[in-house]
Symmetry: C3
Subunit: 332 residues, 3 copies
């Protein structure tokens, strides 16, 4: 979103980023792209390959090595972290609602803590509890007995089924659905008999779910998304899945029912994980891989079906030799 | 969702499940997970590997073979079916709306049968007909001339485009969209010329569509989802697709335009099916497979692109021999 | 949607399609499927294999070669283009709202041009500008300072985050979300630190986005969808992606952050593209392929990971020889 008009000296930014200022202590009002950089900008450079183009730049640069140029430079260890810190500094706070909009339909039993903001046409059912500082944007639906913690942000058109629990500082982007039935049926003489889902969903503190992402409720017990885990857009998290803390799950990932992820697991974009397997702490899965068995902690897996990264690379090397193999076989 | 306070004797449950009661005829109030089992619970055990842990359990157990333990046990043939039956028994009925909420915007021409429930901020356009016992949750949109049968459940934020037809007992989860245009364009000198979609969508009785799933309307004629077919979250069903009855389609599946599925087809999670092919009755497709040609009835296919299961398994066996093949070739 | 009661002579249609009329100059009121064709229909035949079945048809046929049958025929070069043109002719205009519904919540600073239609329960935040002839369907949310051009169509339950810009004649189907944060975090001692997204999204003229498709805002700068590009349902377009004009992106595609597409690129259903690569003008990617590196203009790529089409085909040919290779190796 747009930036507030905040103003800092380059030396202040250097302190904040635990970096070292070299050159002029310029005034900075904005975080900018290199392309649009002007005199009041700070620009973070992930690499320093384009040094030549930088000679005339008037902005403060943040980089991880010193340039032999007469520019205002803040030298940091980790430019990505510096960028995140600066983005936090300059970003305008998100205001999705102010006060309780009169068109919101809020059941008389709902408990709202102080400083809760509810947008137009939001619907909040019986027995819901919402913590201080939380804002819920327009057209969202909060089902019966849902519990929402403090300082949460629900973007528009979010749907929470009954009894979902959100911790503090949870962010749910537009179109997110939490708590729908898992996909479970039993064969019966009259066709598929639906398994009613009586469990819950627990979303722990500081979790962020991307747009139109879906998290199913448990059959019994709870589907759990661990603290600080971030899930991108259009992901599907099945019933009874347990995801540990600090995981990163990229867009269009699907995790099938009852599968568990440890802490700090990374799933690349479009990865799929079948039901009832376990992915260990810190394991990583490549984009579009299909995980069909459990992955030990700390390992990197790739492929369809997924296998340890080294095996995956070797297999692709060998596939590149198929032509030579075939020609040899044909000649003999 | 949470359970109603219903109470049964173990012997009553045995009758209901067509099972045999062994041991004490305990009182049961809840369906529980093994982990949280207490004296008033019934617990279904899919397997009996964890017998040792069961010695002290006070709940009624449902299993498919008798344990040599002094426990209250109901022996059934199919524990999954028993679980589904018990979940139906103990689940609280879903109440998404009660009566017609005054904030709903309902066109004067809309025909509502008795006992229809419409939640807050629902919008129902001209000429819509809704059958008895149907409930439509908050913030849903029902387009012109849509027909909805009896006892349907539409969760929040559902969008039905004009002229969509739903049978009886259809369940559409939050964020479902039915009846949008198919993806069809013709090349023209001025760029892609849109093919207007003038067809319909017919969703037959007892169909369930998962959250944020999308079903496109037909170009001409109808896109059809057959009776009792269940489709999971985030699936894409293209224009003019015909899906037979009793199919099970897992999450994030995509079926492209004009493809047809017979009865009882199973598509694993994330499977894709190209346009204009046919999948025969009872065929099964593995997770994340890409179906690029028609599949005969009753066959199981897997892979990218999909092939009959035995060929798929053999190919993966042979891929495992690539190292040995390559070493042999190199030595000669 | 349903057709208006328009009436044309076959000769008028022939003029309109730049085709040649052979046979009777019948009256046409509808565009029909072959199956439902009646005397007042025009039917477009993509192929003429089913000639035998056509003997008794009373409708006007549009085809690309003359049949030796005494039927009313319009011969055209491109039947797909003819179908699109006829669909445009006979389709009823979409009316999602009429006037400004009183339940819409529109900030006092919003600028609406003439002939703007806003459906029930739409929410439009501060500083939004909406061009003439645009209609916004029920329960949609338009964030602060969004700019929407002329003659746009927003279907129900659309969410636009602040500062999104739409050109003219843009169509956003139900559940679309534009402008949410990209998926960007930096490692920090306290877990993942969110990168605030301060950039924008620009959707150019004549773009169409399918149901529940998501387009993320840029970190800095803009995510751009070029003019006349069409994106199908359930697609994910990452932050800072630039998509050129006249691209066709089929359902469930995901394009990761900072990747760029040239003009006229075609991505098959379910294709994935990793971050920071470039797909050249006119390149084509097969269904469910995973693009892991840049693709030169004009090339067709397929596979997991994707490679040039000829290499992909050759690899699959060689995989078909694995059995023979293995048997040969075993014998020696």
């Amino acid at each position: 979103m747009s930036q507030t008009k905040k103003s800092y000296r380059a030396s202040e930014l250097a302190d904040l980023l635990a970096g070292e200022l070299i050159g002029a202590d310029l005034q900075v009002n904005r975080l900018c792209d290199l392309k649009e950089a002007q005199a009041d900008c700070v620009v973070v450079l992930a690499d320093t390959k384009t040094v030549a183009a930088l000679k005339e730049i008037e902005a403060v640069l943040v980089l991880n090595r010193r340039l032999e140029l007469p520019l205002s430079q803040v030298i940091v260890k980790d430019t990505r972290l510096a960028f995140a810190q600066l983005s936090q500094l300059f970003a305008e706070p998100i205001v999705l609602a102010e006060g309780i909009h009169p068109s919101a339909v809020i059941h008389e039993t709902v408990k709202l803590a102080e400083n809760v903001h509810i947008g137009p046409h939001v619907v909040i059912a019986e027995g819901v509890e919402i913590g201080a500082g939380t804002q819920i944007a327009a057209n969202s639906f909060i089902g019966k007995k849902v519990k929402i913690g403090k300082d949460c942000t629900l973007f528009p058109n979010v749907s929470l089924y009954p009894e979902v629990e959100l911790g503090d500082r949870v962010r749910l982007h537009a179109g997110v659905v939490v708590g729908s039935d898992g996909f479970g049926y039993a064969r019966s003489p009259r066709g598929a008999l639906k398994i009613q889902h009586m469990g819950r969903v627990i979303i722990e503190d500081d979790v962020e779910l991307g747009t139109n992402t879906c998290v199913d409720r448990a059959t019994l017990g709870a589907t759990v998304i661990g603290a600080r885990t971030k899930i991108d857009n259009l992901c599907q998290i099945g019933h009874n899945v347990k995801i540990g803390s600090d995981c990163l799950i990229a867009g269009t990932v699907a995790v099938a029912g009852s599968t568990t992820l440890g802490r700090g697991v990374i799933l690349g974009g479009g990865a799929g994980v079948v039901d009832h397997v376990h992915i260990g702490d810190g394991a990583q899965v490549g984009a579009r891989s299909l995980v069909t068995k459990s992955i030990p902690a700390g390992e990197s897996w790739n492929g369809y079906p997924a296998e340890p990264y080294k095996k995956y690379v070797r297999k692709h090397y060998l596939l590149g030799k198929l032509e030579q193999i075939w020609q040899t076989i044909k000649e003999n």
